[in-house]
């Protein structure tokens, strides 16, 4: 039996050709006149000091952590949602309990200020 994903595989290959062709055509017709100022990092005309690769605030990381947890929770809920119609009444209770624990996690992160952008 043929998998539905065959088309996705074909599309991956074909879609990869688009940037290849696009950049190839552009390479043929575009001008190329580099100079040191043009190649320098853009910073509104100010001379750039140091690398951009400096340390950033940790707040971003906390959002990413909360995101990962919720993403995984959502993956668990998807089979529940799909099968819901074929499941008896107790599926409602199980699902609601799961969602409430999820809500508890959100409330905790909220209370502790993990979701505050300060």
């Amino acid at each position: 039996m043929r998998s539905d994903f065959v088309f996705v595989g074909i599309l991956v290959v074909v879609a990869t050709l688009l940037p290849v062709v696009g950049l190839g055509v552009a390479r043929l017709i575009r001008p190329k006149k580099p100079n040191p100022v043009k190649l320098s990092t853009y910073e509104c005309g100010v001379e750039s000091i140091g690398d951009a690769w400096v340390q950033f605030r940790a707040q971003y990381y906390i959002y990413a952590l909360v995101f990962v947890v919720f993403d995984i929770e959502a993956v668990f809920l998807l089979p529940w949602a799909v099968a819901y119609g074929q499941l008896p009444l107790y599926a409602l209770v199980e699902g609601v309990v799961f969602i409430l624990i999820l809500a508890l996690a959100l409330a905790y992160a909220w209370r502790k200020g993990a979701l505050r952008w300060s």
Partner: protein, 394 residues
């Protein structure tokens, strides 16, 4: 798709079924990867400029061709002939990979977009999940672009965008969960089939959350922090020029169309419409064309809605934006999910065929309750702020 395969086999009898199928797949993939970007970008940049111009009491593009219709073509030529600059401090490989990934990631979403009856690249049984999962490739591309440019603006912007994208992915998944719950499937075809009453009318809450999350995922106003010119210049692609910049741009408009298309499929009944399936068979050529027209009308309407929103609302501040996602959309979405699950198990509704009224009532109830909660919270915080001001005066 199947019809085209059998047509091809009838045309050339020597051809085996897998070969015919492969040819059809290749042609459709080529159309999605090469034709769709050109058509979508030219059509929707034109539409966006014209509509925004009207909103702002301007005329919009009117020089290139009649009514400025060739403006998109002129832009394409310009992009192709612009010099391509790679900053000397950039990380070359990653820098060049990022725009390619950005556009490939968006094209992949088109694989599960049903544009007409029977016309869909792959009707995966995990269709809805696939849409969200493939979205992650774009997030990766943005992070790569921001980092490899070795530019402070680009990196800062990439961080912000990714924080925004991941924050709005959760409400989006919750809205999708509500749809999956009501349809009982993640497959696009079955979700369309489940919409005898479009989900827009039975699950308005999910539609609103999905629309807002989609706008945020595409990074359009009022969620366009990534290109807050006054703060971080042009965003994560500040160092990109020429064709590489064009690929980010193409990706953005491809994303706009597919986002609207998915919203159409999930909430407006996709290609379904009057006469189709009753008077005109879905399998006939006329039926397919009619379905495609219905799909286009609905999708363009949603794109118009997004442009309208862009022309009306000012930009969010980043802390407001993240708060809106996490502290409003997520809890409201979870409440809506519970409400819909509850209504679906009410025995007297499922037996009487009045399910959709029950769902509608539950949705409106959740919307009313959450709006009341927000206005109460706003009033409280305002009075606290006022007391602070009065206190300072004394």
């Amino acid at each position: 798709m199947d019809a085209t395969v059998s047509w091809l086999i009838n045309l050339i009898p020597q051809m085996t079924e897998p070969v015919a199928r492969l040819i059809v797949d290749l042609v459709y993939a080529g159309a999605l990867a090469f034709v769709a970007p050109v058509v979508v970008v030219v059509a929707f940049t034109y539409m966006e400029r014209k509509v925004i111009a009207r909103i702002q009491d301007r005329v919009g593009p009117n020089r290139a061709g009649p009514f400025g219709l060739l403006q998109g073509l002129a832009d394409a030529v310009k992009m192709l002939t612009k010099e391509d600059i790679t900053p000397q401090d950039a990380d070359r490989i990653v820098y060049n990979l990022a725009p390619a990934l950005a556009v490939i990631g968006v094209i992949l979403v088109y694989a599960v977009l049903p544009v007409a009856p029977g016309v869909i690249g792959a009707d995966l049984n995990v269709g809805v999940l696939y849409v969200v999962a493939v979205g992650g490739i774009g997030t990766m591309a943005i992070l790569m672009a921001g980092w490899s440019s070795n530019n402070k603006y680009a990196l800062l912007s990439a961080f912000r965008v990714v924080a925004q994208l991941i924050s709005y992915e959760i409400p989006m998944i919750i809205a999708l969960l509500i749809v999956v719950l009501a349809a009982g499937s993640m497959q696009m075809g079955e979700i369309i089939a489940a919409q005898d009453v479009p989900f827009l009318f039975t699950l308005p809450l999910a539609f609103i959350i999905f629309l807002m999350a989609t706008i945020a995922e595409i990074g359009r106003s009022p969620f366009d922090l990534l290109e807050a010119e006054s703060e971080i210049v042009a965003g994560f692609h500040v160092e990109y020029s020429g064709m590489k910049f064009a690929f980010f741009f193409i990706g953005e408009y491809m994303h706009l169309f597919v986002g609207a298309g998915i919203a159409t499929t999930l909430f407006l009944g996709g290609w379904r419409g009057p006469f189709l399936g009753e008077v005109i068979s879905e399998a006939s050529i006329l039926g397919v064309l009619l379905g495609f027209v219905y799909f286009l009308i609905k999708t363009v309407f949603i794109v118009f809605l997004m442009i309208w929103i862009r022309g009306t609302l000012p930009r969010f501040r980043i802390d407001h934006l993240l708060d809106f996602g996490w502290k409003f959309l997520v809890p409201v979405g979870l409440l809506g999910l519970i409400a819909v699950a509850l209504v679906l198990k009410l025995p007297f509704l499922s037996s009487s065929g009045l399910m959709w009224i029950g769902l509608l009532v539950a949705n409106i109830l959740v919307i009313v309750v959450s709006l009341a909660a927000v206005s109460m919270a706003a009033r409280r915080s305002r009075s606290v702020a006022l007391r602070g001001v009065v206190g300072a005066d004394r």
